[in-house]
């Protein structure tokens, strides 16, 4: 019945939060099938609960409740909520993280996702990655298509006011070590094609962002200005 010291410590490390992604996933599977281990995890959770119980509250944004309600009602009507095959739901899932605001943005993304689906299935050139970039208010602001040959197309969906002496700079995140990598600069939002062939395909990041930078681009080589839009790419279309 009693757990080894190793397992006891592992359960504690899981609750503490020090494990990396793969380790967490493996512990989560173990919790499902090993009741003694699950009980040890629950014990640790109870022991540490006090550190959460006294956390000062933070007022949620007004949109949060409506988003929760929307998700609750959507799943009741049977919309797939987990990553299944349909493109729509995959776009939905990958975008959810980046959807900062209300339903307007979500709906726009869904409509857009659908439009993309139509386009993609029609064209001979199929993007490997598609990202819908959202503005801070949740509006869909641009689409990024990344192709197998290493080129990337950026299609703005809206005009973006760019003050004099500033430029838009496009970034992708590839590896944490390397940090964000600049892909292009432009004086106004327009459809452009970027060449990522210098980067290994496996490295082409799933995250794209556009920031506002001084003329000539970021002086530091890393984003310095406000993020105007960002989005997570959905893979393997």
């Amino acid at each position: 019945m009693s757990l080894s010291r190793d397992d006891m410590a592992l359960a504690g490390e899981f609750v503490l939060g020090v494990l990396d992604r793969a380790e967490r996933a493996s512990v989560e599977r173990r919790i499902q099938r090993d009741p003694a281990f699950a009980a040890a995890v629950a014990d640790w959770q109870r022991h540490f609960a006090g550190l959460d119980a006294t956390t000062p509250g933070v007022t949620p944004s007004p949109e949060l409740w409506s988003r929760i309600e929307a998700s609750r009602l959507a799943q009741r009507s049977g919309r797939p909520a987990t990553r299944g095959e349909p493109l729509l739901s995959r776009l939905w899932n990958s975008l959810r993280l980046w959807r900062p605001a209300g339903l307007a943005g979500t709906l726009a993304a869904l409509v857009l996702g659908f439009a993309l689906l139509m386009r993609i299935s029609a064209g001979p050139e199929t993007p490997q990655l598609v990202a819908v970039l959202s503005a801070p208010d949740g509006r869909a602001a641009a689409v990024v298509n990344a192709y197998a040959n290493g080129t990337v197309q950026l299609i703005p969906l809206d005009t973006i006011p760019v003050p004099d002496g500033r430029v838009l700079e496009v970034w992708t995140l590839q590896t944490r070590e390397q940090g964000p990598v600049s892909l292009a600069r432009m004086d106004k939002a327009r459809t452009i094609r970027l060449d990522l062939r210098g980067l290994s395909p496996a490295q082409v990041g799933h995250l794209f962002e556009i920031t506002l930078e001084p003329q000539g681009g970021s002086p530091t080589g890393k984003p310095t200005g406000p993020v105007l839009m960002k989005g997570l790419a959905a893979t393997r279309l």
Binding site: R24, A42, Q75
Partner: protein, 183 residues
């Protein structure tokens, strides 16, 4: 823990939610979302991501309210575990530390607190406080930092400028000592 009355009320609320009562769900949100957001924010640092964790946690609570039972701890503890796990999985899943640091410096700092403050709010009668205080200061700090901010072994090593192997064994030893003390 602090008051059983709240626990009973929340347990009733969860029972109603399990029966599909949307009004109870709303009540639960009103009462608990703020603190849950605070917990997620300590870990994720960015409000948009923290709200995402709270969103996911509430959808999950709606779906799994029927599985709550008192031997899993207090209703509040159960919900905190859900949001904390969600926040940790978002944090680990998205490799976003770099972005948090470099792309969005504007966001959060003002809302962050020193992890030790979380310990100082524990009541003196709580076993965790007593047992944490029995650890050496350095290992104790690593454990508190890990829990409150959800840092990984590697991130703690980096933050405290201590070799990774040292941090791993220090935390493991601390956990086993805590276990001994907490029973």
């Amino acid at each position: 823990m602090k008051d059983d009355h709240v626990g009973t009320e929340l347990a009733d609320c969860l029972r109603d939610i399990a029966r599909g009562r949307a009004d109870a769900f709303r009540r639960l949100y009103e009462a608990e979302a703020g603190r849950m957001l605070g917990i997620a924010l300590r870990i994720l640092k960015r409000r948009a991501l923290a709200e995402e964790a709270v969103h996911d946690a509430f959808v999950s609570i709606w779906n799994h309210a029927a599985t709550y039972e008192s031997r899993l701890g207090s209703p509040r503890g159960w919900m905190h575990t859900i949001v904390r796990n969600r926040a940790l999985n978002i944090l680990r899943g998205e490799s976003r530390t770099e972005l948090t640091d470099t792309l969005e410096p504007l966001d959060i700092a003002s809302e962050a607190e020193n992890p030790e403050e979380a310990v100082s709010r524990l009541s003196d009668s709580e076993a965790l406080k007593h047992c944490l205080d029995r650890l050496e200061p350095a290992p104790r700090h690593a454990v508190v930092l890990a829990y409150v901010e959800g840092l990984s072994h590697g991130e703690i090593a980096e933050r405290l400028r201590i070799p990774l192997g040292t941090i791993k064994s220090r935390i493991r030893r601390s956990l086993l000592a805590l276990k001994e003390c907490l029973g």
